[in-house]
């Protein structure tokens, strides 16, 4: 008796389930934007950090500096670390907008910071989550174009497209108050970054960079970064300058350096 009733119910459920799939597909087709992410793209998801264990590389290219316009050359000379043997070290602390003045690192400097980032791939977007500053880079992969004249921001505006196994990311709309990297290379608000991201092995992510900034550079500057996969890591929290907020505007270290009471 029960089976006689169950069969029509199952049949109705099957029809409803099928029709809801049909409705969803119809809605998808009539939508304004059709995601252009291929059905199968390489998997870059996971937590990544600079491949160097002890002192991560603070820049994108350790062989040559950008070919600077004169104003940018003067800024670079003022920013760079002149201690012997410290050519590719952090820039001068008192000139550093992030360390000295608590500005966000922003892009692309975050990619040279010592803390990890996580890649998350979702429909129409790839997200880079950064431990430092809890910053997020939204890389739109839904086929949209770069905006004509975006308002400048610390993370900029990014679009991405897949070329085979490589995610090619264009970023513009960056504030010129940040350093390009930790060494103190300056840039302007005309900076256009092209990042070619590829998982070269299971635990290595390689990014080939092109930094085109006609206001600051006489020609595009290129570089490469390699990051290690950390499957057992999760992102923690790193917030700049909490020490100053807790101790009256100056860190206890700053007070100690100045010889003030702590």
């Amino acid at each position: 008796m029960r089976n006689r009733w169950m069969n029509p119910i199952f049949a109705m459920l099957a029809v409803l389930a099928f029709s809801s799939v049909m409705l969803a597909q119809t809605a998808g087709k009539s939508g304004a934007k059709k995601p252009q992410t291929p059905a199968r793209v390489p998997d870059l998801t996971g937590v990544w950090a600079d491949i160097t264990d002890s002192t991560p590389t603070p820049t994108f290219n350790t062989k040559e500096d950008p070919s600077f316009q004169p104003w940018a050359e003067a800024k670079w000379k003022a920013n760079k670390n002149t201690d012997p043997g410290q050519k590719y070290s952090n820039g001068k602390v008192d000139m550093d907008p992030t360390v000295a003045s608590c500005f966000p690192s922003g892009m692309p400097r975050l990619m040279t910071e010592i803390f990890p980032f996580e890649i998350i791939q979702i429909r129409g977007r790839v997200l880079l989550l950064f431990e430092r500053d809890y910053a997020v880079s939204h890389i739109w992969t839904d086929g949209r174009k770069l905006p004509e004249d975006p308002d400048p921001s610390y993370m900029g505006y990014s679009i991405g497209r897949w070329e085979g196994d490589t995610l090619v990311v264009d970023t513009i709309g960056l504030k010129d108050t940040t350093w390009l990297d930790r060494t103190g290379h300056p840039h302007s608000d005309a900076l256009h970054i092209v990042a070619r991201m590829r998982r070269v092995t299971h635990d290595r992510l390689q990014i080939d960079w092109t930094f085109d900034d006609p206001k600051a550079f006489t020609k595009p500057w290129t570089g490469q970064s390699i990051y290690r996969y950390h499957p057992d890591w999760t992102l923690e929290e790193f917030i700049s300058c909490e020490d100053r907020l807790l101790h009256g505007g100056e860190s206890l270290e700053q007070k100690a350096v100045k010889g003030h009471d702590q």
Partner: protein
Amino acid sequence: MKNKLLSVVMGVTGLFLVCGPVFAHHGRSNYDMSYTATVKGVVTGFEWANPHALIFVDVTDKDGKVEKWTAETNSPNTLSRQGWNRNTVKPGDQITLIGHRVKGGGNYINFSKIIFADGRELNPGVKN
């Protein structure tokens, strides 16, 4: 008096200790890297904050005078990956810290090793 205290608590080993990311936020320029300092004392507080966790230490010299020290180390995110948490160091713990003292003679060090009274040693993280 400060020199007298120094002779008690500072061990000059002549080692040049490379601390990696411990110094990554602000460089080494604020610290006397020419010798390794040792500070022994009793913990009065542990501040689990960015960009550097801080241990507050009372150091008593042989005459019984107490000086307040502040010891800075890695950031909480890096310490977490080393297995630390906000309770790893507790008030009342007797500790020895190995590191570098701030230039100018202030009671402030950046440490790269902590040794507890029972001999247990912890590294605050030389890898990022």
